[in-house]
């Protein structure tokens, strides 16, 4: 620059920079995921640990190899691949073979993230894109949940077929399910870390969970006539079961694939709640969080366009 010796820096905005970097945020998210991961390993044993290592390592490796091959700046130090890999691992059943998780990570990082331009450009959450890829490809293995050596239905499947579930064990997490989704306590611990450090705010998860609760409260009756309107136990069971807690706090709030406008975040949260409720109550399978989130991810550009705030002085009466 010609003016580099000038005392006054002439540059375009932003003039005030925050110390926060992508790497900081991703490290906090990784730390916040650790309670759920630790509980998953405690709950499901060694296979869960192998799965988590497999998904995380292959996510990082894929990113490294792709960026080396394409002569791009290697960005594995920003931890975003670690978060993707870890999230995918937490979304896998412990009984699935490890290579399945690795394949999912390769798909998530390569196709969903890097081919669209890397961090910040992905059209949907890479971990969820990968999970849906695996869910469609290997439906059998991805929906078989083995707990304590027996293959059993998840609480959501029990609920859907009209049975009753023990809400307390769902809060603690001693139930079959994917590695990271079972324990509401462990997930909430991570969520509190995220909220206290300011990484996420309550807008998206709050509207998501609230809309979902209202939806299930009303339409649960139509899916199963034995359930009354706004049956508190039924709603609690739905909120604690399946991947909704993990999805609402960790995946719906992904910066890249959620709206930046405040009104947009509320619309997005409500859309998530309605879609999840629709899929769970009236869809073919008992769980629908993954599909609800990736479909809403795809609608984010439209939501942002509609909810663009008006600059001061614009608009008003014509």
């Amino acid at each position: 620059m010609v003016l580099s010796e000038n005392k006054f820096m002439m540059s375009s905005s932003p003039h005030i920079r925050s110390k926060t970097t992508s790497a900081n945020i991703m490290q906090i998210v990784t730390a916040a995921l650790l309670p759920a991961a630790a509980f998953g390993v405690y709950n499901f044993g060694l296979p869960a640990l192998i799965m988590l290592i497999s998904t995380t390592a292959s996510a990082v490796l894929t990113e490294l190899i792709y960026q080396k091959l394409m002569h791009k700046k290697v960005t594995i130090n920003d931890f975003s691949a670690v978060v993707t890999g870890l999230l995918l691992g937490l979304n896998m059943p412990s009984s699935a073979p490890w290579w399945m998780g690795a394949l999912g990570s390769v798909f998530g990082i390569l196709v969903v993230k890097q081919l669209f331009g890397g961090l910040g450009q992905n059209i949907m959450n890479p971990a969820l894109g990968a999970r849906c890829f695996l869910l469609i490809s290997f439906t059998g293995q991805m929906t078989t949940f083995i707990y304590d050596g027996v293959s059993g239905p998840t609480p959501l499947a029990v609920l859907k077929s009209g049975g009753t579930v023990d809400t307390m064990s769902m809060l603690i997490g001693k139930i079959p399910g994917t590695i990271g989704e079972t324990s509401v306590f462990a997930i909430m611990l991570g969520a509190v870390i995220l909220i206290l450090t300011g990484v996420i705010d309550l807008r998206i998860p709050g509207t998501y969970l609230a809309t979902f609760a209202v939806f299930v409260g009303i339409f649960g009756h139509f899916q199963n006539p034995d359930i009354g309107f706004f049956d508190p136990q039924y709603i609690t069971a739905h909120l604690c079961g399946g991947g909704i807690m993990l999805g609402a706090w960790f995946m719906a709030t992904d910066y890249v694939t959620s709206p930046i406008t405040k009104r947009g975040q509320i619309v997005y949260g409500m859309l998530l709640g309605i879609l999840t409720g629709l899929f769970r109550l009236f869809g073919g399978s008992a769980e629908g969080v993954s599909y609800a989130i990736i479909i809403s991810n795809l609608l984010v550009p439209l939501i942002e366009r509609v909810t663009l705030p008006k600059p001061f002085g614009k608009g008003g009466e014509k």
Partner: protein
């Protein structure tokens, strides 16, 4: 290069309907669940394309400009009906697996596109070769997509079990098919992947200063097309 061979080269490589022109995406994505389906669809389309190109080129001075589209459709639809009955009669299994996509050849963009942009403006022999080139290009594209999808999605090649499948119940290890590849999303993934691959190959060849290898000259089988060099017929309107 001889005009006829140029047409075939153009259809197969330079303006491959699947990977370059991106035409006829509906059958491309829908029927390529196996290589056999890809070949069947590609060849059926080729037959219709050659015949309709021929007839439309013959009639190009007769068909009034203002009603050319209905006229093209009538011609194409007649040939599609013939092909449909032939397939139903002689290869019923292929007919069953292609299903609704055979009658839909009528509205395939490649056929109408070639009729509109080439056959209606060029002489008969060149139009026939244009049909052959485009049809073969489409067949190659569909077969390639079908082959990749079939191998990854079910471990087979042309219906032959290439990779032995794993059987969890019997404790037999082997290939676990990635089912998504024979479902709709797999079609998009494979199409995109193969298109990227052929662009890469073409770009690399261009970078090295080499042109993509062209079919050179005319073999003995082409003796009959001596008449279609540029001298006798004008070869224009290729890029419309």
């Amino acid at each position: 290069m001889n005009g006829c061979m140029e047409r075939i080269y153009n259809g197969l490589i330079k303006e491959n309907p699947t990977f370059v022109l991106m035409l006829g995406m509906c059958p491309t994505l829908a029927v390529t669940t196996s290589a056999t389906n890809g070949v069947g669809m590609g060849l059926s389309t080729t037959v219709v394309l050659v015949l309709s190109n021929m007839l439309i080129s013959m009639l190009r001075k007769v068909i009034p400009d203002s009603v050319r589209m209905p006229a093209f459709i009538v011609v194409v639809a007649s040939f599609v009906t013939i092909v449909q009955f032939l397939l139903q009669g002689f290869v019923p299994s292929l007919y069953a697996s292609l299903g609704i996509y055979i009658p839909l050849i009528v509205v395939n963009c490649i056929i109408l596109g070639r009729a509109e942009s080439y056959a209606s403006k060029n002489p008969v022999l060149l139009s026939i070769f244009d049909g052959i080139g485009m049809g073969l290009g489409f067949t190659v594209g569909l077969t390639a997509i079908g082959l990749v999808r079939e191998i990854i999605g079910s471990g087979k090649v042309f219906g032959f079990q290439l990779l032995p499948l794993a059987d969890v119940a019997a404790g037999k290890s082997g290939y676990v098919p990635v089912t998504i590849f024979i479902l709709a999303p797999g079609a998009f993934l494979v199409l995109a992947g193969l298109t990227a691959l052929q662009n890469k190959v073409k770009n690399n060849a261009a970078k090295k200063g080499k042109k993509v290898r062209e079919a050179s000259g005319c073999g003995e089988g082409c003796a009959s097309c001596g008449g279609c060099s540029g001298k006798v017929f004008p070869t224009g309107n290729e890029e419309e």
